[in-house]
Symmetry: C2
Subunit: 264 residues, 2 copies
């Protein structure tokens, strides 16, 4: 699939664009079954909520499960990302953030790129985030909230540094914007949360300020987020790199797959 | 003001009705100044968030501050409530729930009446809740979420009993519906959260199931909630009643005041 000029302009101006009904319900079912299989195996790639049990995030399923291995090459995800980046891409990071029904927790207001810059020596904000709705996203189950156009502000520097966190997962909380900063930003950049049925695809900039609230509804909000990075911009770690499930090591240019990922 | 037949039907069928732009911005400013004055005085009527400092609720400001004393007689609040109850009314309870910017906390899913029944020996669900938006209510600042039509289910009994909590404020958490119950209810009763500019008035049934999420936005969501009760249905406490700021003792029929509450 190809983004229209209007969709490209939205991405450039707003920092995000939503492509509704990109995957079928049947395809999403296949992905959710694969996700459940992958979540069953404990390990450092599985991050839990504060209760220590409920899955919050799982990383790099595409390195373990054939369905996800094929998904990251899907023309419907890789295609638009290549169009935006105008370059060959590889998977820098893949995760599923599962915001559980009844109490899935907040994500602090943050930008993505600064974390990868500090933790992984990523030199430019050239990534493209591609999020796939595995559940219907509504106003009730903790949708991602963007500050429209805030990606154009560039990197908002923090006092904290992820350079000290080389070993693992970094929660955005450590890179959170302060209430004072955010209260200022919303005067210029309105809050907006793209919503839609499962199967929708949301492209967003690694520089856009975003966060989300809790999920008090009886409906989970599982969000698969792929971060593609240009092969030419692959980072060179300073010292020991973070684990491979957080920082993709395979920089081979991904080839677009026009087949169905659920027909292996 | 008088509710239309359509508005009355909404209240009966859905369990709520929203009256937009009922108070002016200037009037809301007056109320917020009065609220700030009243919140400055500590005491058992002031309930804080888990941090022990931030105001979560304040009760019975109408018994202390002339602006609120007059507000509860306002034709724009008391009028529609009388129309629904078709009876003389008094104030059973008045509170302001302040859901602060950046972290105002959740309210568990609950019904109101069962708490008053158990704690105060209220014999019938004849109350009318009248909520006044002191701030713009948006999808981002933790709006009240209703299960449409759930008031028609009557009282959903709990194992817990508020009879043991005679002394003070009862958080809805103690009367919360379980995830299993709620997951069942939403199949028949869709979630809906009325939103609008400050100055709007939201009438809702004491039997409707409702809750709300956190406020992750930079905008507070202060909600004034008046609960009127028919004079003929005033409860007779069993044993020591809860404090007067939680259970109104003055059962004198309220007379409608058509003047401006902010011109004292």
């Amino acid at each position: 699939m190809t983004l229209t000029e209007e969709q490209l302009a939205s991405y450039r101006n707003d920092g995000f664009v939503l492509l509704e009904n990109t995957f079928s319900g049947e395809e999403i079912e296949t992905l959710c079954l694969a996700l459940a299989e992958d979540q069953r195996v404990p390990g450092p790639r599985l991050i839990t909520e504060n209760d220590g049990v409920t899955p919050r995030s799982i990383y790099a399923s595409h390195t373990r499960h054939p369905v996800f291995e094929r998904l990251v090459r899907s023309e419907r995800l890789l295609g638009p990302a290549r169009q935006i980046a105008d370059d060959d891409l590889y998977v820098h990071q893949m995760k599923v953030n599962s915001k559980q029904a009844f109490g899935g927790e907040e994500w602090a207001w943050h930008q993505d790129y600064i974390v990868w810059r500090d933790a992984d020596n990523m030199r430019a904000a050239s990534q493209v985030n591609v999020a796939l709705f595995l559940d219907d996203v509504t106003e009730f189950n903790g949708p991602v909230i963007f500050l429209r156009g805030s990606h154009r502000l560039g990197t908002l520097e923090r006092a904290a540094s992820a350079r000290d966190h080389g070993a693992g997962h970094i929660d955005p909380h450590e890179y959170a914007l302060t209430p004072v900063e955010l209260a200022g930003l919303v005067k210029q950049h309105e809050m907006v949360s793209p919503k839609g049925a499962r199967g929708g695809v949301l492209l967003f900039s690694p520089q856009i300020v975003h966060g989300s609230g809790t999920n008090v509804s009886p409906f989970a909000r599982r969000l698969l987020i792929l971060t593609y990075n240009p092969v030419s911009a692959a980072p060179t770690p300073v010292g020991a790199p973070r684990p491979e499930h957080l920082v993709g090591r395979d920089h081979t240019p991904l080839q677009i797959d026009r087949g169905r990922f659920d027909r292996l």
